[in-house]
């Protein structure tokens, strides 16, 4: 028997996920001894901070890889991980009081969230299809549980079940695609695939390669709610506990896009770019159109935000379509602004919810802007930003994305994006209309803790400032 040589491990490469995993395991144990679940939440936050902090020394340095090149850590990954950690932190903030109000506060929630987040972090740095696949499944399983966390509320269960069935169905496509690609290239490592495809010219047009690529694309598309693989989104968002919906809309999307970005950036040989580009462009167009149109008809805020997140997936995808450094910058910029804005918007929805009462109808917002000035103003800013009104972050994001698309020759995609932005303004404005321009006699109570309010102000300010400081933000990810 040959002596097995376990290679020297570069733990630093997976530093952030590692911290979270360890910390989550610890928390699971701590949970058994701590009665106040708030403590677990704050401990979880501490873990997130630690994970974020551990990345700092590596930012701006050389990209490094580890674990037999399974994962890499470069600036793009670090930025994405920071976004993910920030999104998770905000979600935990949102959850603390909310879970208590809903009577579903359990200690497992926070470790579960940390576990899920660590999967996301791995997605941002995965350099191998199998790592991406495993991270995706890991993340999915965490989310299924989180979606069903409001058990035995039937909607929550329904959300979890729909998500699970849909998710595993899609996972089948993903892994089948991986299999085909493996068949074609003999490897599942992203650089390896790229190399194989470049080395043997015929391979790029091999049906195995192409069908495999298609199925992998489909597998990731579902996670980021690309039409027509989006249909789980509204139901799952609506049924899940609101903080979880927020988490899905922000963090999951970032993670999914991170993976997709890696795949197309690294594995795709130049010969295939035009075809993939065209396919992504069509998908992006469909997503923007369907997502925005469907959102117009919604009267439930959570569903509306769900469709809005579908639509934004389309906008983000536009940045990917460009296949250019500028496009990638725009893409990351968009992710950041979108994640923050959407979390802010969900925070307001969270404040509307109490056990036994759901106030997700648009009319429940009537007069909110005047009764809760801070919350109203923040929500208005989020909505305007999502609609792409300058000088808020959402506008800059859209501008960058469309510019990138145009530079790649996709002017029609930019046009569709712009026109659907107009459609989106319609439903975002309706929220403002309800908050500021209608009065209501039976106004629902709101549950905005000081913490939540501070969070809202901070994120609203950030949405404003991000636009004005676009250049420094863009510089986080230097053009490559």
């Amino acid at each position: 028997m040959n002596s097995m040589q376990i290679p020297a491990l570069n733990w630093a490469v997976i530093g952030a996920p590692l911290v979270l995993i360890v910390w989550a395991t610890v928390l699971m144990v701590v949970d058994l001894f701590v009665a106040n679940k708030r403590t677990i939440a704050y401990l979880g936050l501490a873990g997130l901070v630690a994970a974020a902090a551990i990345l700092i020394p590596y930012f701006g340095g050389q990209a490094m890889s580890g674990f037999s090149d399974m994962v890499v850590l470069d600036d793009t990954a670090i930025v994405l991980q920071w976004i993910l950690l920030l999104a998770t932190a905000i979600t935990i903030f949102l959850s603390i009081d909310h879970l208590q109000r809903l009577g579903i506060e359990r200690g497992e929630y926070y470790p579960l969230m940390l576990f899920t987040t660590s999967a996301m972090l791995l997605m941002a740095q995965g350099n191998n299809l199998i790592v991406l696949f495993l991270a995706l499944e890991w993340l999915s399983i965490g989310l299924y549980v989180l979606a069903g966390f409001a058990y035995p509320k039937i909607r929550s269960e329904e959300a979890a079940m729909k998500y699970l069935l849909y998710g595993s169905f899609a996972a089948g496509f993903l892994i089948y695609g991986v299999a085909l690609l493996y068949g074609a290239t003999g490897t599942v490592s992203l650089p390896g695939i790229a190399q194989a495809l470049t080395n043997s010219p015929g391979l790029a047009s091999n049906p195995l390669t192409l069908v495999g690529a298609a199925m992998i694309l489909i597998g990731f598309s579902y996670k980021i709610s690309i039409v027509p693989f989006h249909m789980w989104t509204p139901d799952v968002y609506e049924g899940s506990p609101t903080p979880v919906a927020a988490y899905m809309s922000a963090a999951t999307k970032v993670a999914g896009f991170a993976a997709l970005l890696r795949v197309v950036q690294i594995a795709l040989p130049p010969a295939l770019v035009p075809q993939v580009q065209a396919a992504l462009a069509i998908l992006a167009a469909l997503t923007m159109i369907v997502g925005n149109l469907a959102a117009v008809a919604q009267t439930n805020i959570k569903r509306m935000l769900a469709y809005s997140s579908v639509a934004h997936a389309g906008f983000i995808l536009v940045g990917l379509v460009a296949f250019s450094p500028g496009g990638t910058q725009a893409f990351l910029y968009y992710l950041l602004s979108y994640a923050l804005t959407n979390l802010g918007a969900f925070a307001v929805v969270v404040a509307l919810e109490n056990e036994g009462e759901e106030h997700f109808a648009l009319s429940d917002l009537a007069g909110l802007g005047w009764r809760r000035p801070v919350m109203g103003a923040a929500m208005a800013i989020f909505m305007l930003s999502l609609a792409g009104v300058p000088p808020l972050a959402g506008f800059f994001a859209k501008f960058l994305v469309f510019t990138a698309a145009y530079r790649a020759g996709y002017w029609w995609l930019a046009l569709i994006g712009l026109l659907t932005s107009v459609v989106s303004a319609f439903y975002y404005l309706r929220i403002i209309v309800n908050m500021y321009m209608r009065e209501s006699e039976t106004a629902p109570r709101t549950f905005a803790t000081p913490l939540l309010r501070v969070g809202l102000v901070v994120s609203a300010l950030f949405v404003i400032v991000q636009g004005l400081l676009t250049y420094p933000v863009l510089q986080l990810v230097p053009l490559r």
């Binding site: 506008f395 145009y406 530079r407 303004a425 676009t470 250049y471």
Partner: protein, 509 residues
Amino acid sequence: MTSLPILSLILWLPLVGALLMLVPLPARTAKIVALLASLAVFVVSLLLIPGIGLFNSHTAGLQLTETMAWIPSFGINYRLGIDGISLWLVMLTTFLTPLTILSTFESVSTRVRAFEAFMLMLETGMLGVFLAQDLFLFYIFWEFTLVPMYFLIGIWGGQRRIYATVKFFLYTFTGSVFMLLAIIVLGVVYGRSTSGQVNFDLQAVTKAIQANGLGLSQTTLRWLFLAFFAAFAIKVPMWPFHSWLPDAHTEAPTAGSVILAGVMLKLGAYGFLRFNLPLFPEATHFFAPAIGVLAVIGIIYGALVAFPQKDIKKLVAYSSVSHMGFVVLGIFALTPEGVHGAILQMVNHGLSTGALFLIVGFIYERRHTRDIEAFGGLWKVMPVYSFLSLVIILSSLGLPGLNGFVGEATIMFGTMKSAVLGWPFAAFGLTGVILAAVYLLWMFRKVMMGDVNQNTAAMRDVTRTELAILIPLIVLIIGIGLYASPFFRTMDPSIEALVGPGSKLVANR
């Protein structure tokens, strides 16, 4: 030359005022603070006045420019500047805003701080549109103006305010996105044709596009022209893109209507001058007759539709469609006279129609109706008010000696002389002048003439505040009407460079 960033000062002062509104002041104090802030802006803007101030009326190019890198990787700069085309529009904005804020002293009593904050934000937005010299920066301000106005109409508006404000927002937003696409195209193509770096500097792009069309085909340039045109035509609004205007005007609170008519409509016409003409000389020539036709239709159509309106504000709103038709006609006459007249007419329309909305607002405050039939005999019970209204109405219908005439006549001279438009446009455009007399005097007759009825019998005449608002307007109305040369003279070099002999627009003929 002073190093004081005066344009930035003018631009951001109102926003500072708006931020002050975050302080929980009592309503009255908030109004005064807002008024002082807007007055401060006005005073600072007085520093621009040619002759005594910083503006040099002998050069055609941009003056007092300020440039600061903003997003270098996209060639986006914070770049302000002013020239003869924008000078008076800036002055109009800084002049109208304090008056409008003064008008809220008596007309706005709920959510005062928010109202004033939005007014001041709006001022920054509008000034930004006139001052920005970077395509991207321009677009930001252009879109931003929608937001405060959206709130002003939606919160303080009338019965159908929500419909009106959403329509206003979406309609203008729709037009703007085409422009955004065109801006992106220009910036990218410019970059491609020069350094490889995207660049949105308006002057640089203009220069390059006039030199070689940026290597774009004629068809592409025409499409780009139309993209800009869509945004501006909706804003102006030109027929048949006007249908948001009556609703928005009717439902807006008085101050909102004043600013909307007074300044916001000018943004579109200004856009034509700043973008369409210099950027796309060939397309401008190609489309000018068609646009002229739309403008003339707008003039006549607006006047015809204004006449049977029962709602005074709606009548005035449609009159704006008609009047702005003149402005567009003047611009696309592509003659120096036409453009001179168009710019002055923008200012004039801002003064006259702004004033019209104010006077309608005054009687609305008293009786809470805008139904023409509900009034009558005001000339008897409110003589001063009626007299001032008459002057404003006469200005609006273009009576010589008042400002409206000078603008319209100059536009008409330009149209007549124009190589692209010519006498039929002038003739049909002039019928609008006849019709203006019909609907405005008809309104005057219904509201001011006749005998008092029980509704109007007890109406009090103008208050001091109202007088203080109207007097400056009337002074300018008469002043411009009798002595327009100083206004024209400052525009002359810039317009000469734009459409005078030797400019690209003429050389292409």
